[in-house]
């Protein structure tokens, strides 16, 4: 893998097994700042595990993960937890919102956890409701939102603290195609506007087509940097 200064996040020869079962077998991936990369691959290929290693949720057995030049895999858990809270945003497929909190409180959560005052956090959170077509829904709880609305609230929560990297794991997997498309359009537009790097795991070609390039994970390895191959 080439050395480049503008890679914001990198996995180098990352391996991880769950018990006897290898999930990653020397995976390499480097993502440039501001880039949107889709990770594709069959079920069980290791694509979500790779994303979790990149995001510091899982620690690889071997290899390196770097964010902004810093080793993530060797950080202490408290340090990684702070990194995830302050520099990363997350969107998953299901059940992300805290059901006891309103939509506005859910969006404000990363700011509150980062030490912002409640009033200020709610004002900043509120700004996202108009941007994502959620006006009027600030006071609703997750059970009172449609799937598409809940996913847009989750997207707002992931981006409100202006993270360096947004990690998304099948973000439209539970939505119908039209709603999924709206969520992806908003995700891409918001990320571009903020200059946020996006790493997105998906098995849906239409989602991958929203990315700048795609990589394919097969049997625990990034087997093809396909767009680069096509261009070469």
């Amino acid at each position: 893998m080439s050395e480049r200064d503008d890679f914001i996040i990198e996995a180098r020869d990352v391996a991880l097994s769950f018990g006897e079962t290898p999930a990653l077998r020397g995976a390499n991936l480097a993502v440039a700042a501001g880039e949107i990369v889709a990770i594709m691959g069959p079920s069980g290929s290791g694509k979500s595990t790779l994303l979790h290693c990149l995001a510091g949720i899982l620690t690889p057995d071997s290899g390196e993960v770097r964010f902004d030049g810093r080793r993530v895999d060797t950080m202490r858990e408290t340090e990684r937890s702070t990194l995830r809270r302050d520099r990363f945003g997350f969107v998953f497929q299901f059940g992300q919102l805290v059901p006891e909190l309103t939509a506005a409180e859910n969006v404000a959560l990363p700011l509150l956890l980062g030490g912002a005052r409640r009033a200020e956090a709610l004002v900043r959170a509120g700004q996202w409701f108009g941007r994502l077509g959620l006006d009027g829904l600030q006071g609703r709880r997750s059970g009172e939102l449609s799937g598409g609305q809940a996913q847009r609230v989750a997207l707002a929560r992931a981006l409100v603290a202006e993270p360096g990297v947004l990690f998304a794991d099948e973000p439209t997997g539970s939505l119908d195609s039209l709603t999924g498309e709206q969520v992806m359009d908003l995700l891409v537009a918001s990320a571009r506007e903020q200059g946020t790097t996006v790493v997105i795991v998906t098995h849906e070609p239409r989602v991958a087509a929203c990315a700048d390039r795609e990589v394919v994970v097969r049997d625990g390895k990034v087997t093809s940097l396909t767009t680069e191959r096509l261009a070469s």
Binding site: R206, A209, E214
Partner: protein, 174 residues
Amino acid sequence: MTVPLALLGLLEREPSHGYDLKRDYDTYFGRGKPLPPGQVYSTLSRLARDGKVVVGEVEAGTGPDRKRYVITDLGATELETWLGAPADAEPHLQTVLFTKVVLALMLGRDAAGYLDIQRAAHLQRMRELTEIRRGGSLVDRLLADHGLFHLEADLRWIEQTAARLGALADEVNS
């Protein structure tokens, strides 16, 4: 094949000059593939020869654009029949993709590599269509959607086949 019928449809809406037909065809049906003017007039000539359109009032001046074409009952009937009939649900059973994969396996070539390159080519085209949908009118978006769904179907086949290459190699080489 649909050009004569599309022109008949535009003429059923209202009698038109060839120029207007070309403009409307390109606007609604010819995105990325405008109809050559010569094809408009040759198609209209054939439709007139077959009694499906007639030349209505001819305006003063010269040139084909002075002619206003009008659909006939025969043309309207053909259009009605075509609109009500389902298009062939083409299964595309012998696609180029399939042929390349099978031949690659038979010849001991890199079938998985071919599928990777094909996936990238499909996704590149999907990216272009996704861009068209983002900035386009509803007509553009729905046309792009048609292409996207077809490419998506191919990609699902590519993934399915990539996961079964070993078994397929055994079968074609047995």
